[in-house]
C-alpha cells in the first residue's frame, strides 16, 4: 500500500528548512567516501547535485545520454533566473517571491517547499557569481535585473538571452572539477533504461552504453534522478529532441508515484508551426513580453499587412482583458488567450495560427539600439527561422508545450515513494503547482541540486544503512532481463512504420485532447485511441540495425515506446481533475466569461498515481493545506 507522507517540518514557515537541516542526521566525513551515489542527468539539477555530492566526499557516478554533460536541455533556457535579492528595492522579498510562486502555481503546490525555494533563491545567485557566471551588470558594476511574466517586481537575473547556458556551464565546470578530483565518475553517452529495486529500496539502475550497446547494472547506496521533463510526449514542443520520460517512467513502473502528470505548461511565445515535417517548435523568450505588445486585427480575417492596420482596428487583447498585468500575465493565461482567439478565426499568418508580438512602440520610444541590445539574439533567431525582420514587422507567435510541472512525487526531502530514490529538477513535481512562473525553472533546478538534495540525501544514507547490492543479485538480473528483452522486441518488430510517425501521432492525440483545453469526452477518446496505437507500434515499428552498436533509431524507438504508455497516464490524470487550475483547463470548469474555475473543495490535493500491471493506474491523494496563505482566485484582471 502506497503512503504519501510529505514529511513537512511543523512550525513557522520561515524556520522549517533551518529546523529540518538541524534535525537531519549527518553522515560522518570518514564514511562518505564509502558511500556511492548515482546521479542520472547533467542538467542544472543533476550537474549541481553531482558536483556538490562529490565535493562533500561521496563517491558519485554520473550518467547522461548526451556526448557531454554540458549539452543537457537546461542550456536552452533563455530568459533568466529569479531571486528575492531585492537589489532594485522595488518591494521584493522572500515572502513575495514565495507568494508569487504559490499563486502563480494556482495553489496546487506545497507552502513549505515553495517557501524554501524562495529562501534559497538568493544563495543561488551568489553561488553562480562565485563560479564565474557572467550575469549582466549595470554600468556601476552591480548585477542587473529585469522583470518577467506574472510578477510586478524586477527580480530576474540574466546573461543576455543565454541564461540557461551560462548557469549550466557554471554547474558543468563545478562538475568538471569534481571529475578531475576523482570524486565523480562521468559516464556520457549512457542511458538509464530501468531501476533496480531490492528489499523495497532503490539499489541501482540498468544502463545502456549508447556507443557499444552494452547493457549493464550499476549499483549504489542511493539514486538521484535529474532527468528533466516530458513535454516531448506532444511530439512538437520547445524541448530538445533527446528529452524523454523514460527514466522517470521506468521508475514509476517500479513503484514510484507519479504526481500531477496533467500539469503541462504551454508556453505562449513560440514561433508558429508551419509544416508537417517540422521537428520542433522554437521558443522566443518570454522576456519579449516586457516590451512587445500582443495584438490581432479586431476584424476576423483581416489580411492587411500589420503596419497598415491603424491602432483603432487592433485588439491588444491581453491589455484589454487583463489591464493590471497586461502583456505580462502568466504563461497559461497568455497561451489560452492566444489559442482562443485563433480558434475564433482571428489569428494571423499561415493557417491563422498566430498572433502579433509587436515591438514598434518600444522601438519608437526607446530606440532600435535599446531593443537590439536587449533582444538582438532573439530577433536574429526569429529572422533565421521565419525569414522575417522583427524590427520592421511584428513577430508572429503561437503557444507550444514547454515545461512539465508534473513529475515523480517527492517528499520535502526530495525522496520519491521508493526509499533511496531521489528526484530533482523538472523530473519531480514539487514546487510549481499547476503552473510555473517564468525564470523559476532554473531557480528550482539549482536549489534542488546545490542546496537541498545534498543535505537531505545525507539523512537517508545515515539512517537507512542499506548495503550495496551484491553483483549478480537476482534483482539486477531481473532488471537486466527487462531491458534486454525490450530491446530485442523493438528490433524484432514488423518494420512497417517509423518510430517518428508513431510519436507524431500520439503527440497529435494529446495536443488535441489533452493540450491547452481538455474535456471529458476528448480525454476518454484519447484513452481509447492510445492503446490501439501502442499495439500497432509494437507490431509494426521499424528499427533497423542491431542492439550491440551505436543505434540512434533504437534509442529513439525506446523513448517513443514509453511516451505511448505515459500518454495514457497523462489523460487519466487530466480526466480525474475536474477543475481548471493553472495550466490545466477543463472546458467543463469555466466561468461565463471563459475564466478558469478552480475547485478547492474537491481538488486541493496532489494527485499521485501508482502503477498497476493489470489495470489502470491507482490514484492516491496528498491533501494540500494552506496555513500561511489564503488561496484566492488567481485573477490577473
Amino acid at each position: 500500500m502506497m503512503t504519501l507522507d510529505p514529511k513537512i517540518p511543523p512550525g513557522p514557515l520561515e524556520t522549517k528548512w533551518d529546523r529540518r537541516r538541524f534535525s537531519e542526521k549527518l553522515v560522518s566525513p570518514a564514511n562518505k567516501r564509502r558511500i556511492k551515489v548515482i546521479v542520472v542527468g547533467t542538467g542544472l539539477a543533476g550537474a549541481s547535485a553531482a558536483s556538490t555530492l562529490g565535493q562533500l566526499g561521496y563517491e558519485v557516478e554520473c550518467f547522461c545520454f548526451h556526448d557531454s554533460p554540458r549539452r543537457a536541455h537546461s542550456i536552452a533556457a533563455q530568459g533568466g533566473i529569479n531571486a528575492a535579492k531585492n537589489y532594485q528595492d522595488d518591494g521584493d522579498s522572500v515572502a513575495r517571491l514565495f507568494y508569487d510562486t504559490i499563486k502563480g502555481g494556482d495553489f496546487r503546490s506545497r507552502e513549505a517547499n515553495v517557501y524554501r525555494l524562495a529562501q534559497i533563491s538568493t544563495q543561488i545567485i551568489d553561488q553562480c557569481v562565485a563560479l564565474g557566471v557572467p550575469f549582466a551588470r549595470e554600468y556601476g558594476g552591480q548585477l542587473a535585473n529585469r522583470s518577467f511574466g506574472g510578477v510586478q517586481v524586477s527580480r530576474t537575473f540574466y546573461c543576455r538571452g543565454q541564461t540557461g547556458q551560462q548557469l549550466l556551464l557554471g554547474a558543468y565546470s563545478a562538475l568538471c572539477w569534481q571529475i578531475e578530483r576523482g570524486q565523480v565518475t562521468m559516464h556520457p553517452r549512457t542511458e538509464m533504461l530501468d531501476l533496480i529495486l531490492a528489499d523495497g529500496h532503490a539499489r541501482g539502475i540498468v544502463v545502456r552504453d549508447l556507443v557499444t550497446g552494452r547493457v549493464t547494472a550499476r549499483t549504489a547506496h542511493a539514486i538521484v534522478l535529474a532527468t528533466g521533463g516530458y513535454s516531448n510526449v506532444y511530439y512538437l514542443s520547445t524541448n530538445a529532441s533527446g528529452c524523454n520520460v523514460t527514466a522517470t517512467y521506468r521508475a514509476w513502473k517500479q513503484g514510484a508515484a507519479f504526481a500531477n502528470p496533467c500539469f503541462t505548461q504551454i508556453h505562449p511565445t513560440a514561433i508558429p508551426p508551419t509544416e508537417t515535417y517540422q521537428a520542433k517548435l522554437t521558443l522566443m523568450s518570454e522576456s519579449l513580453r516586457n516590451d512587445g505588445r500582443l495584438w490581432v486585427p479586431t476584424a476576423p480575417s483581416d489580411n492587411r499587412p500589420p503596419d497598415t492596420i491603424p491602432a483603432s482596428e487592433r485588439d491588444y487583447f491581453l491589455e484589454r482583458r487583463y489591464p493590471r498585468f497586461g502583456n505580462l500575465v502568466p504563461r497559461d493565461v497568455a497561451s489560452r488567450a492566444v489559442k482562443s482567439l485563433c480558434d475564433e478565426g482571428r489569428g494571423v499568418g499561415p493557417g491563422g495560427q498566430g498572433v502579433y508580438l509587436d515591438f514598434s512602440d518600444v522601438i519608437e520610444q526607446q530606440g532600435i539600439d535599446v531593443v537590439r541590445e536587449r533582444y538582438g539574439n532573439l530577433f536574429d533567431m526569429y529572422r533565421r527561422i521565419s525569414g522575417e525582420d522583427a524590427y520592421r514587422v511584428p513577430m508572429r507567435i503561437y503557444p507550444a508545450p514547454h515545461y512539465t510541472m508534473g513529475g515523480l512525487w517527492v517528499d520535502y526531502n526530495l525522496m520519491s515513494t521508493i526509499p533511496g530514490l531521489f528526484v530533482i529538477g523538472e523530473a519531480n513535481f514539487a514546487d510549481h503547482g499547476a503552473n510555473r512562473l517564468g525564470a523559476s525553472s532554473l531557480m528550482q533546478g539549482l536549489a534542488d541540486g546545490y542546496f537541498i538534495l545534498p543535505y537531505t540525501i545525507g539523512h537517508y544514507l545515515a539512517t537507512a544503512k542499506v548495503p550495496l547490492l551484491p553483483d549478480n543479485h537476482s534483482a539486477s538480473q531481473a532488471a537486466l532481463e527487462r531491458v534486454t528483452s525490450r530491446v530485442k522486441k523493438l528490433l524484432d518488430a514488423g518494420k512497417r512504420r517509423t518510430a517518428a510517425s508513431f510519436h507524431r501521432e500520439v503527440g497529435r492525440i494529446l495536443w488535441d485532447h489533452c493540450g491547452m483545453e481538455r474535456c471529458e469526452t476528448g480525454l476518454k477518446l484519447a484513452l481509447q485511441t492510445i492503446p490501439a496505437l501502442r499495439e500497432e507500434f509494437w507490431r509494426d515499428v521499424a528499427v533497423p540495425g542491431s542492439g550491440d552498436a551505436f543505434n540512434q533509431e533504437l534509442e529513439y524507438a525506446g523513448r517513443v515506446a514509453d511516451f505511448l504508455e505515459f500518454a495514457e497516464l497523462l489523460c487519466y490524470d487530466a480526466l480525474h481533475r475536474e477543475e481548471s487550475c493553472g495550466a490545466h483547463f477543463r472546458e467543463e470548469s469555466q466561468t461565463a466569461d471563459g475564466e478558469p474555475q478552480r475547485d478547492d473543495v474537491r481538488f486541493a490535493h496532489v494527485a499521485a498515481w501508482e502503477y498497476r500491471m493489470d489495470g489502470p493506474p491507482v490514484l492516491h491523494k496528498e491533501p494540500l493545506t494552506f496555513e500561511f496563505v489564503q488561496p484566492t482566485t488567481r485573477s490577473y484582471q
Partner: protein, 262 residues
C-alpha cells in the same frame, strides 16, 4: 526543391568510410537542414537501410550537439549559426551538397557523421573552472564588475563547445575553444586566483589530446556559431606568457612586484 546529397558513411571508428549518394526530393525552403536529413532517414528506415547517424538535440543553436561539415565548411555556408539553424532556402534548387563529419585527430568518428568530442571535456577538466565549494559564497554584488568587463566575459563564455573551430582549422587546433574559457574566467575577479594554473593546465591538456597549434588563419572565428573573436586567442597567449612569468617567480609587474592579479 530537390537536392543530391553526398553523405559520409562509416560503420565504426576502425572501419573504412566513404561518401554515399542520396536524393532528397520534395524539400521545402522553410525546412531546416536537419529536418531535410530527418526526411532522408525516414525513407532509409522504411527501405530497411540504416539511417545516417548525426548528432542533434536542442535544434535551436545552443546545445552544441550538431556538427556537420557542409560543402567543406563546418556548420555550412552562413556565419554565426549552427547546422540546426541552417534552412534549405539558403541552397539553390538542384545542387549537390556534400556532408561530412568533423575531421580531426582528436575527434575519432563513432559512426557516419557522429564524432567523439570528449577530448574537449577533458581539456575543461584540466582547469576550465573556478574551484569554489557549494555554499558560503559572498553576496553577488560584493565585487563590482563593470559592464564592459562583464560583457567581455560573456562574449567569451558564449562558446557552445561544438568543436567547429577544430574542424575548420587545418592544424585541428582547439585554441579558440581554450581561449574562450581562459578569457572568460580571467576577465572576472572570481577567476583571478587560479588564472596562471588554469591556462597552463588547459594548454597542456590541449596538446596531450592531439590538437594542433594555431596557424593564425582565423578559420575558427569564421565558422564559430557564436562568432567568438580570435582576439581571445591573443588573450590566451598573453595569459600563457604571463603564467610562465608568474610561475617562474619573476614579478608580474615591476610596479607591484607581489601582486598575482592585475
Amino acid at each position: 526543391m530537390k537536392f543530391t546529397l553526398k553523405i559520409w558513411r562509416q560503420q565504426g571508428p576502425n572501419e573504412k568510410g566513404g561518401l554515399a549518394t542520396y536524393e532528397a526530393d520534395e524539400i521545402g525552403p522553410d525546412m531546416s537542414f536537419l529536418e531535410m536529413l530527418d526526411g532522408v532517414n525516414q525513407r532509409l528506415i522504411l527501405a530497411g537501410e540504416e539511417p545516417v547517424a548525426f548528432e542533434h538535440d536542442c535544434r535551436e543553436g545552443i546545445c552544441g550537439s550538431c556538427s556537420l561539415v557542409i560543402d567543406g565548411v563546418p556548420h555550412g555556408p552562413d556565419r554565426g549559426i549552427t547546422t540546426c539553424q541552417l534552412y534549405m532556402r539558403r541552397f539553390s534548387d538542384g545542387v549537390t551538397i556534400t556532408i561530412e563529419p568533423w575531421r580531426a585527430r582528436a575527434f575519432p568518428v563513432i559512426k557516419d557523421l557522429v564524432v567523439d568530442r570528449s577530448a574537449l571535456d577533458r581539456v575543461m577538466r584540466a582547469g576550465g573552472y573556478i574551484s569554489v565549494n557549494t555554499g558560503g559564497a559572498v553576496d553577488g554584488n560584493a565585487q563590482l564588475i563593470g559592464k564592459e568587463q562583464a560583457e567581455t566575459a560573456m562574449d567569451a563564455a558564449s562558446c557552445i563547445g561544438c568543436g567547429a573551430c577544430v574542424a575548420a582549422c587545418k592544424n585541428a587546433s582547439a585554441m579558440l575553444f581554450v581561449a574562450a574559457k581562459v578569457s572568460h574566467l580571467a576577465s572576472l575577479p572570481q577567476g583571478k586566483p587560479e588564472r596562471a594554473r588554469r591556462v597552463t593546465a588547459m594548454i597542456e591538456a590541449m596538446d596531450d589530446e592531439g590538437f594542433g597549434s594555431c596557424g593564425n588563419l582565423y578559420e575558427c572565428e569564421a565558422v564559430c556559431p557564436k562568432s567568438i573573436s580570435v582576439r581571445f586567442i591573443a588573450t590566451l597567449n598573453r595569459e600563457y606568457l604571463r603564467a610562465g612569468i608568474v610561475e617562474s617567480g619573476v614579478p608580474a609587474d615591476p610596479e607591484t612586484p607581489h601582486a598575482e592579479s592585475d
